[in-house]
């Protein structure tokens, strides 16, 4: 029975990962009005790529230090994720940009399935252990027990999110992204290449997903072909919770969702007098999704989606 503070930390860890994934959903939705169904599967591929890289490095260079191995794994994951998502965007989404709304959505579903099955073929159906490369020794911080991995997840996520905010608000690319998200035609008239901006958006989102995938695998020490599905769905919930298209919203939504889930899972047994156990925790995310969409569809911080004529 972990303490309240412990649950908070767990919630922040979970929430950080959700936030990273949610950012990918929210940026793509803001710029294209599309739910990128395949986002969770890109995450999966990232984690599995990292796993393979790590296993390969460990076999070839047994002396390599843990942090270097996982660093290389991370790099490989991000590279593969970015490449994969650029291909997906080019092949399955770009031709459908002006098609009626159902078409890109159905295409996204198809892409998601294809990636899952390919992952199944390449890596098999079994759950695989993700090696412990960061020392697992529990550290005591203010009465709460954490591991280096958890601290790293929170710190790294925070760093990346700050970086993203800087990118979006202070750089030329960021300006271009915001302009395209509001009105692609006018942005185009101002000299912004929408194809490039959209591709960049996908790439950034995919990189974040790759990072999140490795974090997930490292935190739970497991990776498998379907691992991205549930986190993906929950991260989408988080994005909606914060306000779709709204970048700070995705971060807020992700952290909130992580906290709600951690606290909920911890206390649901007590709350329902034992009727519902913690395996219902996934239902939380869905319930929140439905509640938010029905009662406050613009989310906590408000949506930022372009008005499509």
């Amino acid at each position: 029975m972990e303490t309240f503070l412990q649950q908070i930390i767990n919630g922040l860890v979970l929430g950080s990962m959700y936030a990273l994934i949610a950012l990918g959903y929210t940026m793509v939705y803001g710029i294209m009005n599309l739910i990128n169904f395949a986002h969770g599967d890109v995450l999966t591929v990232g984690a599995l790529t990292a796993l393979s890289t790590i296993l390969l490095l460990q076999a070839l260079f047994p002396g390599m230090p843990g942090w270097a191995v996982i660093g290389c794994g991370l790099l490989a994951a991000i590279t593969v994720c970015v490449t994969l998502s650029l291909i997906i965007e080019r092949v399955a989404y770009r031709p459908l940009r002006n098609a009626p709304r159902l078409a890109p959505l159905i295409s996204a579903i198809g892409v998601s399935i294809v990636i899952q099955t390919v992952a199944m073929l390449v890596w098999g159906r079994n759950y695989m252990t993700f090696p412990q490369l960061i020392p697992n020794t529990p550290i005591d911080v203010a009465g709460v027990t954490v591991t280096a991995t958890k601290l790293l997840v929170i710190a790294l996520s925070a760093l990346v999110m700050v970086g993203l905010m800087l990118l979006v608000n202070r750089t030329k690319l960021g300006r271009a992204m915001r302009a395209t998200a509001e009105n692609p035609r006018v942005a185009g008239l101002m000299g912004v290449n929408p194809n490039f901006v959209i591709a960049a958006t996908f790439a950034i989102g995919a990189a974040l997903a790759g990072l999140a995938g490795v974090m997930l695998a490292a935190t739970y020490s497991v990776a498998h072909f379907y691992m991205g599905f549930l986190p993906g769905l929950k991260a989408f919930t988080a994005a909606v919770l914060g306000g779709i298209g709204n970048i700070p919203g995705a971060m807020l939504g992700g952290l909130l969702l992580g906290l709600i889930e951690a606290l909920g899972a911890g206390y649901i047994g007590q709350l329902t007098g034992g009727v519902l156990g913690s395996h219902y925790q996934d239902v939380f995310a869905f319930a929140i999704l439905i509640i938010v969409l029905v009662f406050r569809p613009s989310g906590l911080l408000g949506e930022r989606v372009a008005d499509r004529a």
Binding site: A92, P95, L96, A99, F229, F286, L289, I290
Partner: protein, 379 residues
């Protein structure tokens, strides 16, 4: 029937001849296909169930334009309903039920079909009511969530009270008994020996035909026009006095009934149900059938369902021996290949043939010269 075969309908004799021929083929089919083994007839029976599912989803997606990604939940509801009413599970788990029904729980098909339809319709209304005002992609995600919630509950309602028996599912489900015939046993009719699988096939075929007739009648009705109007321009539909909310709810409820009935039939046919049969992928497969065949076009949907239902059988019989011959072992599992091809089909159809393999023919007259005048007439 006018919208189904516009050219042929002019010649009534031709239509009736066609119908009779198709009927003969369908009735004789199991005997022909059955030569290759009962597994193929099983596939035909399942194909009928999938056709019913696809027709039901077509009402929601094709007629009313609402993307439901959790449709399989209605199938699950129907299946579990029958499972509970026609198996020893409830009587062995709850002594008070065993006391009420000392001979065990058996359910007549004449009760099961309306009940399955009714319960599924209620779930359809429950799902539809809160989500109707959501826009397309949000609706898709929420319905997906609903489907998953149903599955999670089915998987976990074995404690504290064991209703669904959790991941193990419910077994020993009774076969259907109708008109004195036990479909679970082979029967002798007109001197022909009909294995159980054939009997189920005929039952499902009959239900499927009824389903098709219902869909055609709905399409060419006041309600069908209202659905189409909503799909084309919701605001204009409202301005014409259509209660869009209620009409959409009706689509959800009616679509759900198809799922519920076929779910009950599935439970009887298979003899057991478990949450594994009702995962998200199944919803997507049914969606693929509707989309591949021709969204909103009944013959297209039937075609899509039959193709995608038979396809795994064909795949299993070709991919496996080919790989064994070439590589000595199976590298790509037929199941995985099947799903991958479904996924690719979804993408390819959207890219190259978004209206489906057999879309509705051009509705009404659309002469090119008219289009020219119209274009010139616009300011």
């Amino acid at each position: 029937m006018k919208t189904l075969l516009p050219r042929l309908s002019q010649n009534r004799a031709a239509v009736w001849l066609g119908v009779v021929l198709i009927a003969i083929v369908l009735v004789a089919l199991p005997f022909v296909i059955g030569q290759m083994g009962n597994a193929w007839v099983r596939a035909l029976a399942f194909a009928c169930l999938y056709v019913m599912l696809a027709l039901g989803l077509n009402i929601v997606v094709g007629f009313a334009g609402l993307l439901d990604l959790g449709y399989i939940a209605f199938y699950a509801v129907g299946a579990y309903m029958y499972a509970l009413l026609a198996s020893p599970h409830l009587t062995s788990t709850f002594p008070w039920i065993a006391q009420m029904f000392p001979e065990g729980l058996h359910s007549s098909i004449w009760l099961v079909i309306p009940l399955g339809a009714g319960i599924a319709a209620i779930f359809g209304l429950l799902l539809g009511a809160p989500v109707l005002k959501l826009r397309g992609d949000y609706l898709a995600i929420v319905t997906l969530g609903f489907g998953e919630i149903v599955r999670i509950f089915l998987n976990n309602l074995n404690a504290p009270v064991n209703i669904t028996n959790g991941p193990q599912g419910i077994t020993l489900i009774e076969p259907i008994r109708m008109l004195g015939v036990n479909l679970g046993r082979a029967q002798e009719i007109f001197g022909l020996r009909l294995p159980s699988v054939y009997l189920y096939y005929y039952l499902f075929l009959a239900l499927t035909i009824i389903a098709i007739i219902i869909c055609v009648r709905l399409q060419d009705s006041r309600l069908g026009r209202a659905w189409m109007a909503i799909r084309e321009d919701e605001i204009a539909a409202k301005a014409m006095g259509i209660n869009v909310r209620n009409v959409k709810l009706l689509a959800f409820a009616l679509g759900a009934t198809f799922g519920g009935v076929s779910g009950a039939m599935f439970a009887a046919f298979q003899g057991f149900v478990s949450p594994e049969s009702f995962i998200l992928n199944e919803s997507i497969i049914v969606l693929a059938m509707v989309v591949l065949g021709g969204l909103g076009h009944i013959p297209g949907v039937v075609l899509g369902a039959v193709l995608l239902a038979i396809f795994p059988e064909i795949l299993r019989h070709t991919v496996v021996p080919v790989q064994n011959a070439l590589f000595g072992q199976v590298i790509i599992d037929a199941e995985i290949l099947r799903m991958m091809l479904y996924g690719m089909a979804l993408v390819l159809i959207m890219l190259y043939r978004p209206k489906g393999l057999w879309p509705a023919p051009e509705h009404g007259v659309n002469p090119a010269s008219r289009v020219g005048v119209a274009a010139a007439g616009r300011a």
